[in-house]
Symmetry: none
Subunit: 410 residues, 2 copies
Amino acid sequence: MKAEIIGIGTEILLGQIVNTNSAYLSGKLAEIGIDCYNHATVGDNHLRLYSAITQALNRSDIVITTGGLGPTLDDITLEVISKVAQKPLILKKEIIRLISGHFKERRMQMAKNNLRQGYIPKGAAWLKNDIGTAPGIVIKIGKKLLIALPGPPREMQPMVEKDLLPYLKKSTVKKSVILSRTLKTTGLAESQLHEKIKQILNLSGNTTVGIYAHPSQVDLKITAKAKDIKKAKRRICYIEKKIRKDLGKLIFAVDTETLEGKVADLLGKKTIAIAESCTGGLVSDRLTDIAGISRNLLLAVIAYSNKAKIEMLGIPEKKLKTHGAVSMQVAKAMAKNIRVLAGSDIGVAITGIAGPTGATKKKPVGLVYIALSTSTQIISKKRYFTGNRKAIKFCSSQAVLDMLRYHLIK
Amino acid sequence: MKAEIIGIGTEILLGQIVNTNSAYLSGKLAEIGIDCYNHATVGDNHLRLYSAITQALNRSDIVITTGGLGPTLDDITLEVISKVAQKPLILKKEIIRLISGHFKERRMQMAKNNLRQGYIPKGAAWLKNDIGTAPGIVIKIGKKLLIALPGPPREMQPMVEKDLLPYLKKSTVKKSVILSRTLKTTGLAESQLHEKIKQILNLSGNTTVGIYAHPSQVDLKITAKAKDIKKAKRRICYIEKKIRKDLGKLIFAVDTETLEGKVADLLGKKTIAIAESCTGGLVSDRLTDIAGISRNLLLAVIAYSNKAKIEMLGIPEKKLKTHGAVSMQVAKAMAKNIRVLAGSDIGVAITGIAGPTGATKKKPVGLVYIALSTSTQIISKKRYFTGNRKAIKFCSSQAVLDMLRYHLIK
């Protein structure tokens, strides 16, 4: 069973809005075992929409369009579908009743052009729109299924979840479901990770592993196709074990989990304080995205200036002069002093050059020192990051959170 | 001159990532007068990619693909283009030199599979990738132009802006241009803003105004189509003046400008210190995204706990007990004390309940107090925000930055 999704709307082709509908629908279809091999987007143009729909019907079993069901004259989806299906548009009084009810509820006058939305191709079924006025349309053309949904996600999504998916689940024959699981890593580049698990990445067939690089993070996505969810889960579990054997602690989280969430979990009852320089508050901001972190995070100081480093964090002026603010020595002193200042179990610190200015011959943009201090030990690392200011800030925050994670799982 | 954009990647068809590249490219092409009538997306599959590219070349003058240029075996774009163009893939030593330089800069070992990225179709030109390793490719096929760009937006976008757009501007003939300008506002809801400029939103024809709501921000986008850039600019300027007459200082920035960038500009030589509680470092993080802010930002303290509020910011324990940490009185004291502590011209403070826990009967989740202190005045505001923890943090940061902006433009 193959599906194809067509986004309709000139505003998408002008780049004024991003088409999120195709990704949403693809994800939902995959969950119930329907493959999607093509997405297309066309404008509000008869000829091009006609050609996109007929091409899609030729190569796929299910074609879903989104958009072009509104009340105005540039909404042409149903006219075109009427031509493709060779069925005239006929008035459905029940739809008109629903639309006028929609306006009455909102104490508004129904505009005359909303009447257009009551006309659907003869023989088509329709899906109620709980949010807006345009109904969805389902029509069989030969053995193929053509479905037209409204464009606004807040109207389209409830329609899909309430009516379309249950209908497709019942009426289509699926041989399989598709399930995915994402393992997230940081600390290695895509190509280095690739080398480590080459064998597994070369899998083909019903279970595959994809590799996706993000700034300072590389994800491995295991995707399994199987007869039912239980079998798919078993396949994913088998591959995950293999990958974990090779990568171990490099994997910091799974699926929607985040690095900051993982660190918050691992902190348990331990308290922490943060001294940031080049990250400017980002580490603290990421950690405080996690509910309940007020239990752990006692204090963060963003000591951007040397004065603040001296007065707030008690870094000896001599140390700043001898080694520079961006140095292993200062990072260590910041981590220790913030810990003592806050009276926390752990202190972490970051100092570096986020750029674009501030570099010297020996200290390039992207040079970052991170440090972690407890009452019994102090560790520190030197790292080089690239990219713009924001990227260097993010990579630095990723590095310090990951340092914290390694410390906590020990 | 017609263009078409093809997104490549099975993860898009599985709904695992949203394809934002097509919208970005369409917008950029529209700005230089190149129309885009079709978008397509296909997976990492030889046959379907071949067919998508040949179809696109048949109906459009310029075809741009994004994705599938990585170092791994599932990256097949150049192999397919080599078949479409009937040109063999040949090794470019200069590309390999750049890639190995990329790894050297990062003190990393180049993986063997990165060598694949040095092979491009014979006769093709290539675009340097300043961020990653995959170069972009430009190849002429008959009278048509086929362009392959990397998939990650952070690699693709600089390539487009630095090299591709200037090249296309020079080498193509255009009949009209489409130009847009976005005016950004904060502080009013979409419907309130709508009421204020109803007349202008009803424009139709060659110049239109769209309204786009984001969290704590509503944008107005003026779009003009004209024979040349000069005429389009004149039309936009005329409408912008009308809107500015109605909205005045509500407009905080234009196009790619940000609120934090605007505040940094307005600060000039003034110094600032920040005391954050519920925003957890986000205000400081946003401000430090702006290069050169080290001149202004002396210190930020994230005093998440009462202990930190007392010890670091010198808030009297009695005040915390009488009014609670989330109160106008504490916000004002935080703003004043951080200013004095840092010796800065301005002090700002935020205290509130980001949720999901921490609410009381009188103080719901989303209640936030912000304050601003100088040597001669102190101002404060009470605000209610809705949404999840992250949304409340963001809206709070937006409110305090906008308070700062209003103070600085006075």
